[in-house]
Amino acid sequence: MGKVRESVEQALEGIEDGASIMVGGFGLCGNAEALIRGVVEKAPKELTLISNNAGNLGKGLAAWLNAGLIRKIFCTYVGNNEDLHRMMADGTVDVTILPQGTFVERMRAAGAGIPAFFTPTGVGTVVAEGKEIREFDGREYVLEEALHADFALIRAAEADPFGNLRFYRTARNFSPIMATAAKTTVVECDQLVGLGEIDPDDVHLPGAFVQRVLPVAEHEDAIEYRTTRPRPEGG
């Protein structure tokens, strides 16, 4: 069976209660929108979500929160995500907040076959509490462990049938790293292209890290904070 899937249902096959799922995106930027919606319809429970923000402004992964699918979250920033603030206060989800560089490096390590690593980030803070500290060349570092998942749901601009990917601008963020750290990586691509259409030197993520590809043409791509500058006079 090839990697290309024809429906969201096929793409999400095997996601069950208790699954751990990485979801790409920096807030709402670079979300696999159809896959995120598909999980809400499928409604698995007790999920562990690994994602930078877990939605915002009621959109994106906020739907998973509101549907009661999530038991545990690994993220880096809550910000103005009112849905998550409410659930943290209720104690309905168990939230672990990580430094962003540690968050992504733990996934990178998982994908690269490295069980743990020492980082300077978080030394002397609550993040390092209960963790091994070791000194190298006179500076202290904290031991952090690899972070794996059952599934990664990511968005790419272009994919070919082998799962070679190209990303677009800042929609790339955590997605290619998550793809390496999950047992099953599902890619929602804006455009499915033929083998050979992406130049070998322009492949951002090789197909070895991708198990399923779902082409989805339409996306909302909501802007969280639209910010502009005035045009110059007469410009």
């Binding site: 430094p99 980030t121 978080g122 790339r172 802007i223 910010t227 502009t228």
Partner: protein, 208 residues
């Protein structure tokens, strides 16, 4: 007259060397690029995956997939690049960012910084703050000298949850420019018309 926000941004801009790679925190630091001296080139890094971030787009030219770490729409300059988060934090943690300009809730005289959580307050999260503070070659803090309730933010030691220990090189406030030197702050300069006595009264650490 204490420094206005614009004065603080202009003073911070003087700290940036030509050709520097700079990461700007949310809030006051985002004003700095508007005050760069003529002809000085800088490369803005945004931890969500841009080196060479440009100004906000003109209305109608926003791209939802070109955002900064504050999730605002931005642009990318000629020569800019986009990359994944692991590469971005290799750049940050690996010491390839020359300067980070951060906001803060508290700054310790020992160089500690607290800028991500208030005890008993709402948890906003860490984001890139701890990596930027731990990994940047130089840390410049921009902050009001006291809180909205008038409490000192420059302290002998921070009481809020720390972001990083011993990393702050310089602090620019509305009252002047200060370097943490261990048990106190060295006064680098005072804002025009600001008396040392006022700074002493509003700083919870010795001035040197």
């Amino acid at each position: 007259m204490p420094f206005s926000k614009q004065d603080m941004a202009a003073r911070a801009a003087q700290e940036i060397e030509d050709g520097a790679i700079v990461n700007l925190g949310i809030g006051l630091p985002t004003l700095v690029p508007d005050y760069l001296p003529e002809g000085r080139e800088i490369w803005l890094q945004s931890e969500n995956g841009i080196l060479g971030m440009g100004p906000y787009p003109y209305e109608g030219e926003e791209d939802p997939q070109v955002i900064n770490a504050g999730k605002q729409t931005v642009t990318i300059v000629d020569g800019g690049s986009c990359f994944d988060s692991a590469t971005s934090f290799a750049m940050i943690r690996g010491g390839h960012v020359d300067l980070s300009i951060l906001g803060a809730m508290q700054i310790g005289a020992n160089g500690d910084i607290a800028n991500w959580a208030i005890p008993g307050g709402r948890t906003m999260g860490i984001g890139g703050a701890m990596d930027l503070a731990a990994g940047s070659k130089r840390i410049l803090v921009m902050s009001t000298h006291v809180t909205k309730k008038g409490k000192p933010k420059l302290l002998r030691r921070c009481s809020f949850p720390l972001t990083a220990v011993g990393v702050v090189d310089r602090v620019i406030t509305d009252l002047g420019v200060f370097d943490p030197v261990g048990e106190g702050f060295r006064v680098v300069e005072l804002a025009p018309g600001v008396e040392r006595a006022e700074v002493e009264a509003k700083t919870d650490a010795a001035l040197e």
